[in-house]
Point group: C2
Chain length 351, copies 2
């Protein structure tokens, strides 16, 4: 039996507006006994997922999940490796996805929240926080269940995705483009990202929302208006897309990252286009589709193999940099999935 | 053959924000020959309907119907009486509903837009602009098709209606209460109206949105949150209801009268509740359900006879007062349907 020094980052105070990482979080070292009860196993965290939804978890309001409490380890979805085990189903060296949060080690028991990672060629463990994690599943179910792309998709269907260079947006946009053959316009925050959307991901158009001619460009790119708008950002982009929404158009409200730091966000001024265009705006949470994850992951794995789904990651090194990395996510400094690498995977030969 | 002096009110300029009735409209007298072509008939307008949607028609933007043009007679739905006819299906003395607009006379031909009014006991001709007109149909299809009340309704279903003392809201609220037995909270702009909602229409609660304790009162009235919000007003009321929306709740976006005079309206700041509560916000236009009008009017006529649907009208006398009456509608000075009475019906004995 031994005792580990476990570094944790806890929520120190609730930010009112923008996150000040020094005020919002506190690092602490605690002792963790590696003594395991029946069925338990000890993991070390390899990757921490950073997600826009985290801003909501820091807020003390009614939501789909209880808020992170003050002095509690910041919640996150992680990829972790089993380093000691009292459970024959979770052997030393194996990888799991679990909500360990922002810390180095955790003792786990089997639960719905702990998912074993299947390793197959060409797919990195960190993919299980991205395209094969909740991020990718969010894109999948948003497009299928809320956007109803299986019924609406095709060459006559115009799809616009905001945050299109981000982890969820890039998957949503590629499903619309390469699985359903829609006309797909991706919106992002830099010319480099827009180039990535078109040249790398194969979208029809990439639009920089920071451009002065953004709304004009959006109009030019959507001559037949917008049938499905998959929105990750909210704010002015949502308003622009409401002004271009088609008859019976769908707005998949996946996220609203541009507003998450606002005390009272600016709502979509043009929402009454929902009336004139008989359009629908609908939100969702990926957890509601848990029973369908298997089929979704099978589809997505196949699309990756077929080259229909490409992904990128922005990896920040060191758990201590997680607070700063979260701030960077809200500034849009990532392309694709934003991750913090906490530790190296221990390879089989060294176990 | 004769010539009639026909008073018309035309759109003189497009209001930018609040309607200044003197600037926005102009009255003119034109000569109208009563000579009729084949199948034509001459009507005199009895009642003009005033509707929040008119504000949108005055705006030169993409919408569900073309804008009223400058110098064109202001569009409205009217009840009119045939006073001369060249068509055996439209006899002198009969009543029709048609879009004659703000004028005294018009020569009509049969069209989809001209609907003969069936007279039956206890129902006034003006009802064909209210509960048995587009207003009532709007309430009906909003509740059934968008709110899906037939699937969701019942004693465990909490329904909130804004503009509940208005023409559409009062019908929507009574359908939820007396046809489906829901818990129904009506929102209106005065204590008198709230009393009317509870004592006269039989709703569970009437809430005055001008009260300082409105949000607190709404919370107290919706202990099980809001399953269906039928919204006629938008603005702060919409935000309050978003904050109380239930899991999988529906927001039927019928209108947004509180915002129609705004240059750039304030959007719903709390729309991200759509995400956390997996809720849906959807707009509609009654015209899309034209094929189902027959069944709807039969249902509504029955509910009137059974005492399940009660209505009130606010009648302003004189076509010349139509512009001021429209302004009053936006100030919420009406209870129930807002109408302008233009002329007396000529009774059979005098024809």
């Amino acid at each position: 039996m031994g005792v580990l020094q476990n570094t944790q980052i806890v929520l120190a105070s609730r930010p009112v507006a923008d996150i000040d990482p020094k005020a919002a979080f506190r690092t602490q070292k605690v002792s963790l006994s590696d003594e395991l009860g029946p069925g338990e196993f000890l993991v070390k965290v390899l990757y921490v997922s950073l997600d826009p939804a985290m801003r909501g978890w820091m807020r003390d309001v009614r939501s789909y999940i209880r808020p992170v409490q003050i002095d509690e380890v910041m919640r996150s979805s992680d990829v972790a490796q089993v380093i000691k085990s009292n459970n024959k189903d979770y052997r030393v060296g194996e990888l799991v996805r679990a909500s360990c949060g922002w810390q180095e080690y955790q003792v786990l028991k089997p639960s719905e929240d702990v998912v074993k990672i299947k390793i197959f060629p060409g797919i990195s463990p960190s993919s299980y926080l991205g395209v094969l994690g909740l991020t990718g599943l969010t894109a999948y179910f948003g497009m299928f269940e809320v956007g109803e792309i299986a019924a609406k998709g095709g060459p006559n269907c115009t799809v616009v995705v905001s945050g299109a260079a981000g982890a969820t947006g890039s998957v949503a946009a590629q499903i619309a483009k390469h699985v359903f053959g829609c006309r797909v316009i991706g919106i992002a925050g830099s010319d480099d990202k827009c180039e990535y959307l078109v040249k790398e991901l194969g979208l029809d158009v990439g639009l920089n929302y920071k451009s002065k001619t953004f709304f004009k460009d959006l109009c030019a790119a959507t001559p037949k208006l917008i049938d499905i708008f998959f929105d990750n950002t909210g704010g002015d982009i949502l308003d622009c897309c409401l002004r271009r929404i088609a008859f019976k158009g769908r707005i998949v409200v996946c996220g609203a990252i541009s507003t998450y730091n606002d005390v009272v966000p600016k709502g979509p001024a043009y929402y009454s286009a929902l009336i004139t265009q008989r359009a629908r705006m609908e939100g969702f949470i990926v957890f509601d589709y848990a029973k369908k994850y298997g089929k979704a992951l099978e589809d997505m794995s196949n699309w990756i193999k077929e080259g229909k789904l490409k992904t990128r990651e922005t990896v920040i090194h060191g758990l201590e940099n997680a607070p700063e990395a979260l701030v960077k996510l809200f500034k849009g400094e990532n392309t694709g999935k934003m991750l913090v690498k906490v530790a190296e995977e221990t390879t089989a030969s060294r176990l």
